[in-house]
């Protein structure tokens, strides 16, 4: 996966005069409540329109994913060739696909797997990458060398190859249901993307290691694990988190690509990637089959990326 941020990138933007007047120090957060990076960030985020819009969209998508039946009563898997490729109408807002299934229903039910893949893959990637990254950054030396080289080995691996092998393992085990396949897709994405998260965390950890608070903690006799998890981690998490939200969009796209290549989810599990992949041969005669899932996919990725942007800007310590 590509590496959108490095340790050097902050998201400093010029907020003009208002930055000086309403600087966080002047905010009253209540008597005796300790100020932390996170509460500052939250205060900041709450006031950004970008964050609010993105957050609302994501919340809506999560609700759709959890309760699809609230949004449609049609069965996303009911095929009826008499309706094949019919365009949008009053009965079916998004029209019908090649097999005569209601596109709107499929988009609604597809939210679940699409979101699940994106969120789970990002979470897993961040967890693995952050864990190795902070170890590599803090300990340096041969630990760093080893972990970095292992990461480089995975860099060279073609994503498709890893995905095919892992997915075939699941298939051959004859496990029924969509969840194992989704799990395999998530696993293949995470296995192949963790080096990037590791690199980001590592550079943040290297920078943090030089900070006074770490030296002070060591002088006071704190153990390595305490230093890492209590002091360094909260301060290094920001860039990785931001990578996670931006990468989430890329991961949803990766699942779509796997479906396009024929190795991702399949009947009866439906995801937007599967829908787009099925629709590609019919773009010239029934574009609605492609446009609606592609539109939803775009909007979702947009929302997550905007969220990531807003979070990064809020967490950037350079604004403090």
């Amino acid at each position: 996966m590509t590496d959108p941020t490095t340790a050097a990138a902050g998201a400093a933007t010029d907020q003009g005069v208002s930055a000086y007047v309403t600087a966080p120090e002047h905010q009253d957060s209540g008597p005796g409540k300790p100020r932390s990076l996170w509460s500052d960030a939250w205060q900041d985020l709450r006031r950004r329109p970008l964050f609010i819009i993105a957050g609302a969209v994501i919340l809506l998508l999560v609700v759709i994913a959890l309760f699809p039946s609230l949004f449609t009563s049609a069965d996303p898997n009911h095929k009826d060739l008499d309706f094949s490729r019919k365009p949008p109408s009053g009965d079916a807002w998004f029209g019908y696909d090649l097999q005569g299934r209601d596109v709107y229903a499929r988009v609604v039910y597809g939210t679940r797997w699409t979101l699940l893949v994106g969120l789970a893959a990002s979470l897993l990637t961040v967890l693995i990458g952050a864990f190795f990254g902070i170890l590599a950054g803090y300990f340096g030396g041969w630990v760093d060398g080893l972990l970095s080289r292992i990461g480089e080995i995975f860099f060279g691996l073609p994503f498709v190859l890893g995905a095919i092998v892992i997915l075939n393992l699941v298939r051959n085990a004859q496990i029924r249901g969509a969840l194992p396949i989704v799990g395999a897709v998530v696993a293949s994405i995470a296995v192949l993307s963790w080096p990037v998260a590791m690199r980001i965390m590592r550079s943040a950890a290297i920078a943090a290691k030089q900070q006074d608070y770490v030296k002070a903690a060591r002088a006071l006799g704190a153990s390595s694990s305490r230093i890492i998890f209590k002091h360094m981690l909260p301060n290094c998490l920001a860039p990785v988190l931001v990578y996670g939200t931006i990468a989430l969009g890329a991961f949803i796209g990766a699942e779509a690509t796997l479906s396009f290549l024929g190795i991702g989810l399949r009947d009866p599990a439906v995801s937007w990637g599967v829908m787009i992949s099925d629709a590609r041969n019919y773009v010239r005669v029934a574009p609605h089959m492609l446009l609606f899932p592609a539109g939803f996919l775009t909007a979702t990725v947009l929302a997550f990326v905007m969220l990531g942007d807003a979070v990064r800007e809020a967490l950037d310590p350079k604004l403090r």
């Binding site: 590509t2 590496d3 959108p4 941020t5 490095t6 050097a8 990138a9 902050g10 998201a11 400093a12 933007t13 010029d14 907020q15 003009g16 060398g145 080289r149 292992i150 480089e152 080995i153 995975f154 860099f155 060279g156 691996l157 073609p158 994503f159 498709v160 190859l161 890893g162 095919i164 092998v165 075939n168 393992l169 051959n172 931006i246 969009g249 890329a250 796209g253 779509a256 690509t257 396009f260 290549l261 990637g273 787009i276 992949s277 590609r280 773009v283 010239r284 492609l290 592609a294 996919l297 775009t298 909007a299 979702t300 990725v301 947009l302 990326v305 905007m306 942007d309 350079k318």
Partner: protein
Amino acid sequence: MGRYVLRRMLQLIPVFIGATFLIYFLVWAVPGDPFTGMCGERPCPPQFVAAMNDKYSLNDNIVIQYVKYMSALLTGDFGQTYSEQSIGELISLAAPVSLRLAVVAVVIEAVIGITAGILTGLRGRGFLDNLVLVSTLFLIAIPTFVTGFVIQIVLGFQLEILTPTVSSKATWSELIIPGFVLGSLSMAYVSRLTRASIAENRRADYMRTALAKGQPKRRIVGVHLLRNSAIPVITFLGTDIGNLMGGAIVTEGIFGIHGVGRLVFDAIIDKQGAIVTGVVVLLVLVFLLVNLFIDLMYAVLDPRIRYD
């Protein structure tokens, strides 16, 4: 500097071995026998399957297979495909095409991305800034196969402005549209990265000094600002060349480009491990060398960075 380079080159070796073994193992782990499907709707004669498996050492255990392959590789022999074509020849035909495509993509994404990033980084919030932001977000959000497909169908078939496919010669000019499609996602990152980097460095002390000294804007931006903001951007561009070379399967398929992405994908399905590993060897080399070059460029761009 010399010792650093030497150390990095030495570290290439274990990474190389690790990566190639992993690939070889993964292709070996893809289920199925590559020869049983070759005879159409009839079962292949067992003699045929046995002879082929023997010829390509597929009956040996994985470690022996790997060792055999690597020892041949070190003498420059990439092996043969199942149709007895030289893999070295195949790769030597496909790799330059993929490299050209990746270079075109990187150049396009660098030019457009950096320009957009500079303009918005300098200006700060504003209409242009938001426009660039939103359009780059769109490019990140839409998967390449959708953009590629739509461009090919709309511009190629319906409106017939462009030739929808690339010929086997794959000249630079033919690769511009595929390069654009391939680089569209990265273009968005580059512009955001540049923007962030510039916006951050814009208020550094040395910038204020230069301004105070009365230097012309062009010099300030061109010499001081850009040079210091470049590091994250070129890091990303460097890794992208490797990524794009290996990851262009979808774009290559849509535009009919005979590059390594397609070669690798077909080889994975056909279980021709030698082809996959051969290509990955190339890609790993490209990737590691480019990374090394980028790291060395850091020292050039930012004199505060030193290697011992």
